[in-house]
Structures are given as structure tokens and as C-alpha cells.
Symmetry: none
Subunit: 528 residues, 2 copies
């Protein structure tokens, strides 16, 4: 599975293009390259990277994506047909598509009479010419060509004959795949079924049929599955359903439904179990919390709260879940206070080789985790902070440094800009080190002052980089009085570790995470 | 519409019972009474208030709900059949159901052989007896009786004959409605269709058939609609789809689909337009942010970002939305972002009634938006900051204050804790105001110092609250040198507005958003 030829249905991801039309979604070129790599690893067959004609960022992506070694994904560039009255060879959009140098291009054209007349303001024949000439031009230049028939279903409902003629024009021009789009997302599954069936009758055997569904009626997923049942073998969607208005079909629900409910394994062997991780990583990249309730991949997707359900699950693990969460890389959770913790901490201590932890110390650490989580810490993902709690519980642990005081000043003077400075006082062994540094923000200044203070004793600190810094505001309804959680990623040449801090004061929360990260680096990573 | 007799499909809400099984959802008795009243006003036919046998909170609800004057909703109490080996007259659960004194009771019983054998650990005949006797007992005491056939679809797939016999037992006992439950949420629409069709053939004409779908496959909505097409005239769900694991069928998507897509008006005349407000009020009550992407009722459900879409909408308002948002009480919004063009700003200027903007000013504002977004601002959602750009482009705009200097100090002294203070200097008219304040963090201190400085001139500032404060770290790979984007929500009694700031310095970014929010409040909202 996974290659174009073998998959019963090909998955086409448009997170980097249609996904970015979602409110609050904005991706840098680096973000898009990261997402592309993740999708390729998962085994997705097509990755639509952007619209090279629309902005310079996307053109940059297409230059850089050529250097990515991809195992499964074909990169595709998106654009519209040539404009009214223009020829492909002189059309900016079409030329931008070519210059993206992708193996595949996806061209969107209008299939609805109303849109041709009201929005394009041209004749029905001219629209057919634009489709035909644009596709034929790109096909002749060696591209695999996908035609997105915009508003196909709405167009069909108003004038079926013309909607089908636009598909015919694409086929005549040599399109490899024709995609039926429910652009406004308002169709219902039985309409999709009936109309897709009509389209299938018209398409020659060699041409693939695709579906592109939006979720305005809450039915993008059901509509996509309905189209597959009527013969669509190409499905477009986005990770976590990002997209304009109510979003696109959610690939994280679509892929397991195809595989586990319809028996169509669309990913390479064993990759489905990476789905939950992909969903959460992409959510972190777009910086939007993934809905806990997200089917298959959400944090609550296999979480049991009702006492009756929990006791039934003890008798039969599958009694209140539709499948084994491990299939999609998720896990069952039971919400019962105080249950988590000890078992997890025990295995963590074993994992990092802490042996001289007395049995009696463990409940103390469990208690500490609970209290800190109550304050706003979250140790999920902040493994290094968990390990530091365990290290500190050992009687023979000697911290590499001890923080005494810090002070941060941020000053803005009209006409002179903004300045940030930090002073810091630490003790190493018996000695006090007092240092100061400036930075382009308060946390950067703190980071620099801390390194400056410690570097004489721990010169290998210069090999540690702050790789990531994230801020979450908890209980946001309390405005600037809310609790702030900070996650810091630090790395050296061989390892990367995450720590957490939380406080009503964002500087203090940052300091906690930063100090933990440096301490972990010195105590547990060392000068590897 | 709205009464039981006239509605083609009856809506059964279980937000107060099954909804509270969702992770993080907990409702007080007052919350439940508020939600009951809102659902009644909307015209929902059944409101399931709780499980009187399971906890004292629910028993209290049933006592208090009797005093609510309800126009449409019948209150129903939920419980399970009598226990294995027990008679209804001696069963605690059944007696609790009776003592709730509701006109309707809903009794859940098992329809799956595996659950009878593995979970109940009794015989198949005993389970049928429990169903029959429990329902007959309640029916004989004047209750309208609804039978929830738990795991009906999974049970049917494993042993269709037995699953149907459980329905038969309910019918024999006089059940008014038999509800087919996809308890684990793993069924697909074509299964629901086929199995519902079989159930319908068995049920006598006077018995209603219902559907209760969970969303584990992402298909609760489609499954509910499929059952309605096969004859179900009773649909269970929750507001915003709250519920265990991935939730229940979302009534806020279900109701408009039934009405606007299937022509089944299930609410009283004119009530559909209150749906968005209901969804948001209930979200506030359960204290969970409503997904922006929620179909029909989400903030982004009719929001347009792509420049191409916005310009098409100016030619035809319905070109990129499936229906008029006013039908469900929502509205269209246009987002101004780097992806959008001049048209979006023009629409925004019209929306807020700015007329004395010279034609030449608009490209300047577009350019400003692009440059600021390049620096890390994001105007999506930060409508108030966009409006401030437009206001400032007017030659006759006079800012209510001018910021000169600020200074923030955060200090940590070992053993004494952490302190935050801010000093601020602003000019109002010709006068300089210089103030200082402390806070529990640097941004809180800045906020307090700014208010302190401006309050003598603008006393209505005391009516403005900081409602939300969000931080996004952009290009996180640069560690603490990364750009920080801050979004601030401010509100007074009648309005709420959002502003944005961005800088490598988190304090400066926060300051920008904060100052914009206060300026917008003073300039555009005023002392309403």
C-alpha cells in the first residue's frame, strides 16, 4: 500500500493550501515543509503544497520542497485555469504553476453556471475553453493533471448538463483525475451518492474520480465516504479538518474509516498507528489545540468517565469503544481522580535508571506532580521536568547550580524603542556568580544572563540551544491575571528535551522552564 | 410545529445527562435548569434532565424543574431496567425513576448478546424479562415510556434475531418510543440505513422509532439523518455534541440539517434563528470554548478569508456559503489577512461605517496590514485592530491618548517570591499622566498602570474588562528569540473586541495589544 498504483483510494492532503484558509491558521514555509515530511512518512499519496501564483511564500516552498527526500508523496501545485480571454502560454497563473516544477498540478475550474455567469462574468463556452486549454497545456508539459471541479454538486443541482460538460472538457484535455468539489459544503450524503454515480458513468475507465468535501453541514466525512462507495478513488482533505469556514474533510477521521470500517488500507503497512501522533504534531505546528473529542485521535476519543462504563470495561475492554485505540496510535483513559501517576512514574524511574529511589519517595513525587498540575503545570510531554522531580527525590542528588535572585527590566522610551535586560545571581558549589545581559525580550535576556553566569564552570553549556519556546494561557477568562504555562525545548548535538513551568507571572513561568532545562542538560545530558 | 403531535421529527436533548459524560463537562443543578429553559424556548420536544437513581444532584434537579413553566419541552428522567433477578416494584433504580415525577421516563436496556452475557452476566431470557417488566410497570403508572436499546446496532450485527427480540419485548410492554442506539459510535451510515429499515418493519404503527448516535467514527450526524430517512421520527443528541469520548450527535447541526436540507421543520416558527445564540450560551454555561469551525453556529462557519472568495461574494453573497447565515442566527464575516486583498478591507470599512476614507488611503492600509503581518501580527480575528488601522487612516481621527514611555520590572528574590511592577507615561490632550502599579505578572501590572493613568480623564474605563489574553510563539525554532504574538479580548457590558500585537519582546507585544484594546474601547465603543 501507499504507492499510487496499489492504494484502493488515494489520499490527497491540502492542509498546506486549503487548510490555511481556516481562520487563525497561518503556516510559514518551514511549517509547510515539516507537514509535508510528516505526511510523506505517513504514506499519503499527494501533498498539495500551495498556490504558487498567489504569494511569494508558496513559490519559496516549491523551491525548497525539491530538496526533501520523499518516499511516498507526490507534491502538487494548485492554481486556477487561465483567465477569461487569456491563453495558457501568456497566463501568469498557469506559468506560475509550471515554474513550481512539481510532478503534479491541480487546476481548479468552474462547474456551476451561476458562477460562470455571475462571478467570472463570461460565457459558458469560454469557461469550457479555459478548462480545456489550461489542462491540455499542462498535460503537454509532462504534468500529471488533476482537475478540481469547483461547485460541482451545486452546479449539477442547478444545471446537470453543463456541470457534466465541464468534466467532459477536462477529460478531453487529458486530465488524469477529475475531482468533484462540494465547495460550499452544503450537500447531503444521498445527493453526493446520486450525483457521483452520474459523474462516474460519464468518466472513461482510465480517469480517476475524486471527492473534495467541505464541512458546512457537518457532513464532509460522510459525503467523502459516500463518494468512495460510488467509485471515487481519490479523496481530498486536511489534517484535523482545517479549512475555510467549517473546514475540509478531516483526514484523521477519513483514513481510519476507509481502513477500519471499509477495509481499504490506504496507508503503508503499520502507518495507521502513527495517525494520532501526526494529528497532534500538526496541531502543535498550526498552534491550535486539537479538539479533545476529535474522532480516533482526540485526547478523549477513548476516554471513559461513566462509572457503569468503566466497570463494564473491566469485564470486557471493548464494551464501550468501537475499536482498539492502539490501531490508530491512541489509548484508552479512565477519568478517575488520583489513578494515574504512580505506575507511570515507576516505569519512568526504571527507564532512566534511577535505582536508589526509596519506595517511600515515590508517593511523594506523585503528590508533587498532582500539586504542580493543580497549579497549572502539565507534565505530559515535559519529560525532562518529570525526570528532574525524580532526580531531586534522590537523597544523593546535588544540583549543578542554585538560583538565588533574578531581576528583569523592560523599558520603552518614545522614539528610542524597547530594551530588555536581566540580572541574575546563582550559587555553584560555594561560589556566587552575579551577571547581567540584555536580550531582544525578557526571556532571552534571562537565558543569556544565566548562561553567562554558568559558562565559566560549565563551558559545555555553549553546546545547548534553546530550540523551542511555547506559551499557553490557562483559564483565559481571567485576562492578564490568568495562569501561564511555558514549555521550553533545549537541545545539544545529540538530544532534545522539554521542560515546563507555570505561574501567574509569565516571566517566572519562563524562568522555571528555562532553569529546569539548563539543570537537566547539566545533570542528565552532560557534555556528550 | 414544536408540539409533539405536529413535528415530523421530535428532538430529544440529553445535554444534561449524556452530555455531562464528556470530559471536562460538569453541570450544577442551576446550570441544568438554565439549559432546560433555553431548550424549551427553542422548542425542543424532550429534555432529558438526568439519572435520578445515580446521584442526589439529579434528584434535586427533578424536584426543582417541576416549578419551571415550560411551553414545549417534556422533561424526561433516565434510568436502566430493573436489575438481574429483581422486580420493578422493589428495584431502587425504577423507584427513583418514578419518584422523579416526570411525564416521561427513558429506560435503557441491553440489545446485544455479548453485553448480556459478558457485562450483565445473565441469561438472554432474563434480560428480556427485565426489559418487559420494567417498561410495563412504568407504563402502568401513567408514564410515557421511551426504551433506549443500548448497543442495538452492534448487537444486531452480531445476532440480529436477539437484538430485534429486545425491541419486541419493549413493544409488548407498551413502550411509546423505541430508540436504536449506536452506543459505541462506530457504525457507518449504510449500516444504520439497512438495520433501521429492518427495525422499522418490526415496529407496529403506533410506536415511534428513535435514533441515538455517538460520534466515534465522526458520523453521528450522518447516521442520525440516515435513520430519519428510514423512518425514525425521534432523534437524540446534545447541544454542541457534548458527550462521552467523541460526543453525541450535535443538535446544533442536526436541527438545521433536518429543517433546511430535508424540509422537516422541527422547531416552532422562527426559532431556528435563535440556534447560534443557544449554542454559544450553552458553551458559556459548560465553560468550554465552542469550536470556531462548528457547522452553522461556529464563529467561522460563514467567515471568508480567501481574497478570491471575498471578491466573488461581493458579486453574489451566496457564492461561497451554502445558505444565508441569518437563518440560524449567525452572520458572515470577512477576515483581513495577508491572503486577502483590498476587497476585504473595503467590506470591513463599509461594515463599520467609515465613509470619509479617501480612495487613496485604502492601498496604504492594505500595505500596512501586509507589513505588520510580515512582522508577526495576524489580523484574523483581531477585528478591533483592523478597525483601528482604518480609523487612523482618516485625517480627522484624534487618538484618545498617546503612549510615551513604559518600564516593567520583574524581580525574584530567594525566599521572598516574585514581584512585578510597571511605570507608564501617557499624554492626553496636552497633559502628561505618569503612573505606577504592581500586578501578579508584568502584563497585569502594565494593564493596571495604564488604567490608573487614564481613569481621571476616562472614568468609563472602569467598565472595561480584560476578558482573554492569548500568546502565540511564532517561528518557535528560534527559541526565546522567537517572535511573540499576543491577542487581547476586552469587553464592556454590551460588546467584546479583539486586538493584536507582535514583537520579539513579549512585553512589548502585550503592550501593543493592550493599548490598541483600550484605544478601541475609548474611540469606537465609548461609554455605551
Amino acid at each position: 500500500m501507499g504507492s499510487l498504483e496499489q492504494a484502493p483510494v488515494r489520499i490527497y492532503d491540502t492542509t498546506c493550501r486549503d487548510g490555511t484558509q481556516g481562520e487563525g491558521i497561518s503556516l510559514s514555509v518551514d511549517d509547510k515543509l515539516k507537514i509535508t515530511r510528516l505526511l510523506d512518512e505517513l504514506g499519503v499519496q499527494y501533498v498539495e503544497g500551495g498556490w504558487p501564483g498567489s504569494n511569494p511564500k508558496d513559490a519559496d516552498y516549491f523551491r525548497r520542497v525539491r530538496d526533501l527526500p520523499l518516499a511516498h508523496a507526490r507534491i502538487t501545485a494548485f492554481g486556477s485555469t487561465c483567465r477569461v480571454g487569456s491563453r495558457p502560454e501568456e497566463d501568469v497563473n498557469i506559468q506560475a504553476l509550471l515554474s513550481a516544477e512539481t510532478p503534479v498540478v491541480t487546476v481548479v475550474g468552474k462547474s456551476s453556471v451561476a458562477h460562470v455567469l455571475d462571478v467570472l462574468r463570461t460565457t459558458l463556452e469560454e469557461n469550457l475553453r479555459m478548462i480545456r486549454e489550461s489542462l491540455a497545456y499542462l498535460r503537454a508539459r509532462g504534468r500529471e493533471v488533476i482537475f478540481d471541479a469547483e461547485h460541482f454538486f451545486d452546479g449539477y443541482k442547478a444545471d446537470s448538463e453543463y456541470a457534466l460538460r465541464t468534466l467532459g472538457a477536462a477529460v478531453d484535455a487529458g486530465a488524469d483525475t477529475v475531482v468533484l468539489c462540494d465547495t460550499n459544503g452544503g450537500s447531503v450524503p444521498w445527493e453526493i451518492e446520486a450525483i457521483t454515480d452520474e459523474a462516474r458513468k460519464l468518466l472513461p475507465a482510465g480517469v480517476s474520480m475524486g471527492i473534495h468535501a467541505h464541512n458546512d453541514g457537518g457532513l464532509a466525512l460522510a459525503n467523502s465516504l459516500a463518494a468512495v462507495r460510488e467509485g471515487a478513488n481519490h479523496v481530498q482533505g486536511t489534517v484535523n479538518g482545517y479549512g475555510e469556514r467549517c473546514g475540509n474533510a478531516d483526514l484523521c477521521a477519513l483514513i481510519p474509516n476507509l481502513d477500519l470500517k471499509m477495509g481499504m488500507a490506504v496507508l503503508p503497512w503499520d502507518q495507521l498507528a502513527r495517525l494520532t501522533r501526526l494529528a497532534r504534531t500538526v496541531a502543535a505546528i498550526v498552534n491550535q489545540p486539537l479538539s479533545c473529542q476529535a474522532p480516533y485521535v482526540g485526547k478523549s476519543a477513548f476516554t471513559h468517565k461513566a462509572g457503569m462504563h468503566v466497570s463494564a470495561m473491566r469485564r470486557n475492554p471493548q464494551s464501550y469503544q468501537h475499536l482498539d485505540p492502539a490501531l490508530v496510535g491512541n489509548r484508552s483513559r479512565v477519568i478517575v481522580s488520583e489513578l494515574s501517576g504512580r505506575g507511570n512514574l515507576e516505569s519512568k524511574a526504571e527507564e532512566i535508571g534511577i535505582k536508589n529511589l526509596e519506595q517511600g519517595d515515590l508517593p511523594g513525587v506523585v503528590q508533587q506532580v498532582k500539586e504542580l498540575e493543580h497549579q497549572g503545570f502539565s507534565f505530559e510531554g515535559a519529560d525532562a521536568s518529570v525526570e528532574m522531580l525524580l532526580h531531586r527525590a534522590q537523597t544523593d542528588y546535588h544540583p549543578p547550580f542554585e538560583m538565588l535572585d533574578f531581576m528583569v527590566v523592560v523599558e520603552h522610551r518614545k522614539g528610542q524603542g524597547v530594551f530588555a535586560q536581566a540580572m541574575i545571581k546563582v550559587r555553584v558549589g560555594g561560589e556566587i556568580f552575579h551577571s547581567a545581559a540584555d536580550g531582544n525580550g525578557p526571556v532571552n535576556a534571562l537565558d543569556r544572563a544565566l548562561r553567562k553566569a554558568l559558562m565559566p564552570v560549565y563551558p559545555h553549556l555553549s553546546g545547548f540551544d534553546l530550540a523551542d519556546y511555547k506559551v499557553h494561557i490557562l483559564n483565559g477568562e481571567r485576562g492578564t491575571k490568568a495562569t501561564t504555562r511555558v514549555l521550553v525545548d533545549m537541545q545539544n548535538a545529540t538530544r532534545r528535551w522539554t521542560t515546563v513551568g507555570a505561574s501567574a507571572n509569565i516571566i517566572e513561568a519562563s524562568w522555571m522552564a528555562l532553569a529546569d532545562a539548563v539543570e537537566y542538560g547539566l545533570a542528565a545530558v552532560g557534555a556528550e
